[in-house]
């Protein structure tokens, strides 16, 4: 059944199920993840399958849940800590930034932290300022962490399985809007290594770099642009750390133009860093300035129209791409 289509959340569950079956040291903790199966149903059924020792609910103690995960990882286990919203991970920043990210260096390479923090971010559903943030840049900034942002069920499964086999702390950042999206995931083993970008759509006129929930939106924009004769390539880095620089530079060398689309606020974002890499390393390949289309520099408001105005929409992407191509002047 190679044409099997499943939802993003089911792909994540399959990854956990397979890795828990494969390795008895993999276990999962989080709020409401055991009997209830988690707010997004990612861990549904795991308790019945693997028992209460390996699938457990926690009280609301984010700082220590994360710290416990880090400690268990240092002790050689393979913990997966689910944090309900990325906003809540802020309570555990000491353990992520000062402990998990630094342990390998501080111990001269003797200590490793194979710790996976699963959480979700992004806008959608009117959950307002403290439940809607896109905070990948905070983790991207900290040397020692891996930052993973799958956009499809296939990538979600393959990257989570890889995360549970590699030796470093992983910020596995899902998107609340993607859990119910469907995609192709063949039966059997899938592993997606970190640092390998994926071209989600081939094109020749402009490279659109996006990740997480900006991928489906950017693909819609690319479709609309195609109708106007513009061929956009859509590149998904899939992991921001490590970043597949080669794939980015290769695509830009082909298209000579680049627009980076990020849901996170524009200021201090990952997009700005990717743009700086491109201008430093591929300046002479460029026919136009690299443009970053980011979210507004604002907390996410509750009101639907304002929420939508806060982050890039399909129309914004189309408009920016045309501007970069001067297509608006030609028309």
């Amino acid at each position: 059944m190679s044409d099997r289509e499943i939802m993003y959340r089911d792909a994540l569950r399959e990854a956990l199920h397979e890795e828990m079956t494969r390795n008895p040291e993999v276990f999962v903790i989080g709020e409401g993840i055991a009997e209830r199966g988690g707010s997004y149903k990612v861990t549904e059924g795991l308790l019945a399958e693997f028992g209460a020792k390996r699938v457990r609910d926690t009280p609301i103690s984010e700082a220590s849940m994360i710290g416990v995960g880090v400690g268990a990882a240092i002790a050689g286990a393979r913990p997966v800590v689910e944090i309900l919203y990325i906003d809540f991970a802020m309570l555990g920043m000491d353990q992520i930034v000062n402990q998990a990210a630094k342990f390998r260096l501080m111990t001269g390479g003797e200590g490793r932290v194979p710790f996976v923090l699963r959480t979700q971010g992004g806008t959608g559903g009117g959950v307002a300022a403290q439940h809607s943030q896109s905070l990948e840049a905070l983790f991207y900034h900290i040397p020692g962490l891996r930052v993973v942002m799958p956009s499809t069920p296939y990538d979600a499964k393959g990257l989570l399985k890889y995360a549970l086999r590699q030796p470093d702390p992983v910020m596995f950042l899902e998107h609340k809007h993607l859990y119910m999206t469907k995609g192709h995931v063949p039966d059997g083993e899938i592993i997606v290594e970190f640092g390998k970008a994926d071209i989600k759509r081939e094109g020749t006129d402009v490279t659109l770099i996006a990740w997480s929930n900006m991928i489906p939106r950017t693909l819609e924009a690319a479709e609309a642009l195609a109708a106007e004769g513009i061929s956009a390539e859509v590149l998904d880095p899939r992991t921001l750390v490590p970043l597949d620089r080669e794939a980015v530079l290769k695509s830009v060398a082909k298209t000579n133009r680049c627009v980076i689309v990020q849901e996170a606020v524009r200021r201090g974002g990952v997009g700005s860093d990717i743009a700086s890499i491109i201008q430093e390393e591929a300046f002479y390949d460029l026919d136009a300035p690299v443009t970053v289309l980011g979210g507004m520099n604002t907390p996410i408001p509750f009101n639907l129209a304002l929420e939508q105005a806060s982050v890039p929409q399909k129309e914004n992407i189309v408009e920016v791409v045309k501007r970069v191509l001067h297509a608006d002047l030609v028309a």
Binding site: V68, A72, N98
Partner: protein, 331 residues
Amino acid sequence: MTKKAVARRKQNVPPKELLQDLFTTAYKIRNFESEGIKLYRQGLIRGYFHPYLGEEGIATGACAALEDRDYIASTHRGHGHCIARGASIDGMVAELLQKRTGYCKGYGGSMHIADITQNNLGANGIVGAGTPLGVGAALANQVRGSDAVTITFTTDGATNNGTFLEALNLAAIWDLNFILIIENNQYAVSTTIEESTREPDLYKRGLAIGVDSVQIDGNDSLLVYQTVSDAVEKCRAGKGPVLIEAKTFRHSGHHVNDPGKYMPEERLAYYKARDPVDRARENLITMGGMSAEEVRKIEEAIEKEFADAVEAAKNAGEITVEEFREFVSEY
């Protein structure tokens, strides 16, 4: 309990072997810190150095109650815990002298000495961070079906950090083999415990969340050994966790460059009259029947071991910038 421990318990008088162990460890720490401060004054050690002088009884007694399979997590004042856990003086001195032969190859320094091979999760520069890390190690061991016990050494200063309650509570609801030892030296840097809390009997915080908790004299290594042995036994029987508040006092300021002028002389005199190293020596002579000359021989061997370690470290090389760049190339 091991056969050795059972045999010790059957006797009312502690065996000479135990008393000798306790004195040897306590003196090793005393010598390491006293001589280390001299090296610091000579400019051979950079950065911070938080001496464990005056608190040796706690690490000494606690680690003597552990087996190889057990774990510890330490504090910023961590030299004593490492030594008591059996760390090599060579590796520790070399680390303080930033040499490649050091425990962390010179990447960590005083506050980050760890030894994964001895299940030592390491010292920690963030006050309080070791509590969730230790609970994590205890959780990993429960998941893998091991009866290993984890001790986190923490401080009175850390008890007003949120993770103190969070992590101890997690250990309690999961019945983990976890022992939290508060080294109550009565100061958070220069702020007294009385200024920091209305209830300076810190063990009562454990009682409030259903954890067996006791307060003891931390300057009595034999009492610490007996109390921790009981706690270990309780944990291995599935009745953990246990909280132990061990009262003690620093012999000097918070770190080598803090003269500790704020510490009242009479209180310091009170604790110096109950010096943990003197008491361990006294026990070995009076209860263990060892002569003063024999004791001195033990001390001389310890002093020589340290002096040799300093010579070896002085002659050792350092990690090169090229090696460092390679080490972090994937960050």
